[in-house]
């Protein structure tokens, strides 16, 4: 019988303006068959694109920039099984800069992951963050060729900006475990390999307060569907 441990995840959420419970709670459960939590996150209110600040000093029509996909949400477990905390080699995701936009707009990673910041645009960018989780300033570097990287060791939310283009922003959510999922184009998410038990599932979006729901994975495992609706009607 496999014994698994659970621990609470500490995650600062700027959008909710407060801290999630930080006390560690260790619960031992027997695991038999792992299940899946899946569903859809609906964003009720229309999210306007990030606009370029009007600069009356421009002598030319400002270059069009790509739209920022602000519908992306992140769904994660507030408590996670022990296996979710195992150290392993993580792939290196990229937060690209293209057409004056960060791609992707929302990135979710495990603590200890190194993120690359290539500049595949046609202009300089200066990527930085003031977040307490991981402040950094990559400085100005040109497109193509050598790019810069940052290792994110602490869980939390990192808000990323460009010092030159004020309309550029992105979010990096750093988790201590692996049970998280970024929604797809339709708002769907999927959390696999969740052992039987009772969990609090949280849906986060930059433009709305987070919502949490209680989910039970039965001893027989299987799929559990949980949907979220974020934002004002």
């Amino acid at each position: 019988m496999k014994r698994v441990r659970y621990a609470l995840v500490v995650l600062n959420t700027v959008s909710t303006g407060g801290l999630l419970p930080s006390a560690a709670a260790r619960v031992e459960r027997d695991a038999s068959v792992n299940g899946t939590i899946r569903g859809r996150v609906e964003i009720r209110q229309a999210l306007p694109d990030l606009a370029r600040r009007p600069n009356v000093g421009d002598v030319a029509m400002p270059r069009a920039h790509d739209s920022t996909d602000r519908r992306r949400s992140v769904v994660y477990l507030e408590t996670a099984p022990r296996a979710a905390f195992d150290q392993r080699e993580e792939p290196r995701p990229k937060l690209d800069q293209r057409n004056e936009t960060f791609v992707p707009h929302v990135l979710a990673i495990v603590a200890g992951t190194t993120v690359d910041f290539p500049n595949n645009d046609q202009t300089y960018h200066n990527v930085f963050s003031f977040s307490a989780t991981q402040p950094f300033d990559l400085g100005r570097y040109p497109p193509g060729g050598r790019f810069k990287s940052i290792k994110f060791d602490r869980p939390g939310i990192v808000r990323v900006f460009c010092d030159i283009h004020s309309h550029m922003s992105a979010f990096i959510l750093v988790f201590a475990h692996r049970h998280f999922s970024v929604t797809d184009d339709e708002g769907h998410y999927r959390l696999d390999n969740v052992p039987p038990g009772t969990y609090t599932v949280i849906a986060w979006n930059e433009a709305a307060p987070s919502e949490s729901k209680r989910v039970v994975i039965p001893e027989s495992g299987g799929d559990v569907e949980t949907n979220f609706s974020l934002g004002r009607r």
Partner: protein
């Protein structure tokens, strides 16, 4: 009264940390994103300066002791038309339009734009960005773009002695021909008022070309005509490698008002301001270095003389900014403004205005990405006037969205 309001504003902005984090950080949009509105509030508090006037502007305000608020908007009714405007108020005074123009891209496939109205300056680089707190690491301004010389467009000296008497008194100049009211003189290039006219701009991959025809001149931008003349100005900018911009500018326009010209023996002149400029910017990693050179010649009529005098001025400055940490930066600027000599009498040929040197060192801290606190120490050295050297300390809180 304005001082109390500045203090209140500073305290309000710096209130609880939670308040700072909830200040708007992005411009306001409407009409499906076609209308974008941004604002800027800057409170600067420094030593008073009612004796030396080193940092006075052409609006008779002190750049080191000012409360400024600006509201900017851009409306894009179609993909090839922008309507752009900005209004400003200094020291809670009258709200004035700073920019108001229509921008048109005649051919969607070509990077050529035409702007008509109260347009951004064509000449140099600082004039278009210097007033933007987000892109200017300093509290003070370059001498070429702010320091008031003893030249006026609405009044001229009767003799060269009248001109020399006004050395280092550009903040309040008086001449007998034309308007006899004391008034501030003109800077080499005014950054606190924009000119009115039409401007064309071509943006290539490595080269930008800008040209304009406007009502006023570099030193005296105007909305309404005062002398029947126009200014022609142009700039070429090269971007040979990423991070490097090299620019060269030229401008020429009639600057003396018609009612003054009518009182001269040669009313036709020409009485022009001619200017040449060079600018450069390089940035890489955490460094940003900029510099400009501005040469200006005014053909100034002296009422008692048959031909105008050529009065030259040369302004040059270099500045650098370095980001020490994500939130903290330091910056320094070295600046000089010199003037040519005029023959007054045998063996007496002083400069027509007093040479000024300035060194400024600033440091800033980003409380949040659109809220910055700065402190500065600025040293000025002038070759004339009652007080020739002065050091100022100032602090600034700037917010924008």
């Amino acid at each position: 009264m304005w001082r109390s309001l500045v203090v209140v504003s500073v305290l309000a902005l710096c209130g609880a940390p939670a308040a700072a984090q909830t200040l708007p950080s992005t411009p306001v949009t409407a009409l499906d994103g076609r209308l974008v509105v941004g604002a800027e509030v800057v409170a600067t508090y420094g030593d008073p300066d009612n004796i030396t006037f080193f940092n006075y502007t052409d609006y008779e305000h002190n750049t080191l002791r000012m409360f400024r608020a600006a509201l900017a908007a851009s409306w894009r009714p179609t993909s090839r038309i922008d309507v752009v405007g900005e209004v400003r108020s200094e020291d809670l005074g009258q709200v004035r339009p700073y920019a108001a123009y229509l921008r048109v891209r005649p051919w969607s496939g070509r990077p050529f734009d035409v702007q008509v109205g109260r347009i951004p300056p064509t000449f140099g680089a600082f004039g278009r960005r210097g007033y933007q707190v987000s892109d200017n690491p300093f509290i003070g301004y370059p001498l070429s773009y702010q320091y008031l010389t003893s030249i006026r467009s609405d009044a001229v000296p009767a003799t060269v002695a009248d001109l020399i008497v006004m050395r280092s008194r550009g903040w309040r100049t008086t001449y007998p021909i034309g308007s006899t009211d004391p008034a501030p003189g003109l800077p080499l290039v005014s950054t606190f008022r924009w000119d009115t006219g039409i401007q064309g701009h071509w943006e290539g991959r490595k080269v930008d070309l800008t040209g304009s025809v406007t009502t006023g001149t570099l030193s005296d931008p105007r909305v309404s005509e005062n002398n029947g003349g126009k200014q022609v100005s142009g700039r070429v900018a090269l971007r040979p490698i990423y991070g490097l911009i090299l620019g060269a500018s030229a401008a020429r326009g009639d600057f003396i008002a018609s009612n003054v010209k009518r009182r001269l023996s040669n009313p036709d002149g020409p009485y022009a301001q001619t200017a040449l400029g060079a600018d450069a910017e390089y940035s890489r990693d955490h460094w940003l270095v900029r510099g400009e050179l501005v040469w200006s010649r005014w053909n100034l009529p002296i009422a008692a003389e048959p031909t105008p005098r050529d009065l030259d001025a040369l302004g040059s400055w270099v500045e650098g900014r370095y980001r020490l940490t994500p939130r903290i930066f330091v910056a320094a600027r070295v600046d000089r403004l010199g003037f040519s000599r005029v023959e007054v009498g045998p063996g007496f040929n002083p400069t027509w205005d007093a040479r000024v040197k300035r060194v400024e060192v600033d440091s800033g801290y980003y409380i949040q990405r659109n809220l910055v606190a700065r402190v500065a120490v600025q040293y000025n050295d002038r070759e004339g006037g009652r007080i020739r050297k002065r050091t100022y300390f100032s602090g600034q809180l700037a917010f924008w969205f």
